[in-house]
């Protein structure tokens, strides 16, 4: 089938303003991913097209972008999900994610995103001595299950950049950072929960979340992001984790 791509382009060295690039590809398969199509544009038509990518199967988090209006990973969005059932043509519009500065074409500045990530102390904190027998700390499967969902996060930023609260004010830590904090707060082995909750109970913490759900719907790892945020809100409100 045929694909008509409309790609938001911007080259800081030559363009004053972003513009729409239009590209037509023939012999597109329904099983092709949007990343495959972007690669074809880059490799066959215009090598200046710039984006990040690596694993090509939805686990490294490089290529979150806005496809036909909503955030997803280019490598995990197939033509079949965008094209009509029997249609021989598919229209695809690709834009960079919102709320982070566009550096070039589909590539944005991820530093503010990682700053928020680092602000919640995303690392295991436990200063008590490890077991004397030189073996692992114990944890029940039930305790392990509590934070299983949030361990899946690949830091792709699809959630944070889909959140209207984050668009409005980039100082909001954003759903991804809260998901990362959740992974530690609800880990029974971790002892840093006071400090983390203190960060999230602050002005730019969880209260900025208006329960809009764009994050949950954008997450390519199907993490229940809004649920995790609400877990944290409840932990702060009730004083129980």
């Amino acid at each position: 089938m045929q694909a008509k791509l409309r790609i938001r382009r911007f080259n800081p060295e030559t363009d004053k303003k972003p513009w729409w690039g239009e590209y037509t590809l023939e012999d597109v398969l329904r099983t092709d991913s949007v990343l495959d199509l972007l690669h074809r544009v880059k490799w066959e038509q215009d090598g200046t097209l710039t984006l990040r990518r690596s694993c090509a199967h939805g686990v490294c988090g490089s290529d979150a972008m806005r496809i036909n209006g909503a955030n997803s990973l280019a490598c995990k969005t197939l033509v079949s999900t965008l094209a009509g059932k029997n249609s021989e043509m598919v229209k695809i519009q690709v834009e960079p994610i919102l709320g982070l500065k566009v550096e070039k074409d589909l590539l944005v500045d991820m530093e503010p995103f990682f700053d928020h990530y680092r602000s919640v102390m995303p690392y295991f904190i436990n200063e008590t001595a490890v077991p004397a027998d030189g073996r692992e700390r114990l944890q029940s499967p039930e305790d392990r299950a509590r934070f299983d969902d949030t361990t899946k996060c690949i830091l792709c930023a699809a959630c944070t950049s889909s959140c209207p609260s984050f668009w409005a004010d980039g100082r909001y830590v954003g759903p991804a950072a809260i998901v990362q904090a959740h992974r530690f707060i609800f880990d029974s082995r971790d002892e840093g929960y006071d400090e983390r909750l203190e960060v999230l109970a602050d002005t730019f913490g969880v209260w900025r979340c208006r329960t809009i759900f764009n994050c949950t719907n954008a997450c390519p790892r199907e993490i229940k992001v809004t649920e995790a945020i609400a877990d944290v809100k409840m932990a702060i409100t009730s004083g129980k984790i």
Binding site: S140, A201, T203, I241
Partner: protein, 136 residues
């Protein structure tokens, strides 16, 4: 600091946390609690005043008749005390999404805060001191 209250294997560990009291947290809670309360107060008010009675029939005498009753006065005061702070806090939330300058934000908070206080006091005085006998 926190303490571990249960660590039975096979059960979910529950821990208690004590956090500093941030006003953000209480205002967030207030938005929800006042919202629940207003489900009765505000929706009730709207239905009674604007559906069961129509404002096309509204007269000063009608108001006088209602405020002759301390029950109605209390209802309206309760609604007033919920709705104005709730609404203005909501407005502040919206504005602070777009006003990023710390100073400007503080000015806004003060102005809106004063407005809440002024409105609530002024309207409470009006309701409390309203004298139905003065209306012909």
């Amino acid at each position: 600091m926190a303490s571990i209250t249960s660590n039975t294997p096979g059960k979910v560990t529950v821990r208690r946390v004590k956090l500093e009291r941030s006003y953000e947290r209480y205002l967030w809670l207030f938005m929800r609690l006042s919202g629940v309360a207003m489900l009765i107060l505000a929706v009730g008010h709207m239905v009674i005043q604007h559906v069961l009675n129509s404002s096309t029939n509204l007269t000063l005498q009608f108001v006088a008749a209602q405020w002759n009753n301390w029950g109605w006065k209390a209802f309206d005061i309760a609604l007033l005390w919920m709705a104005i702070p709730h609404g203005i806090r909501g407005l502040f939330n919206i504005l602070s999404d777009y006003v990023h300058n710390g100073g400007a934000r503080r000015v806004l908070a003060i102005v809106l805060g004063l407005f809440v206080v002024a409105t609530v006091i002024w309207a409470t005085i009006a309701i409390v001191l309203f004298d139905p006998a003065a209306i012909p």
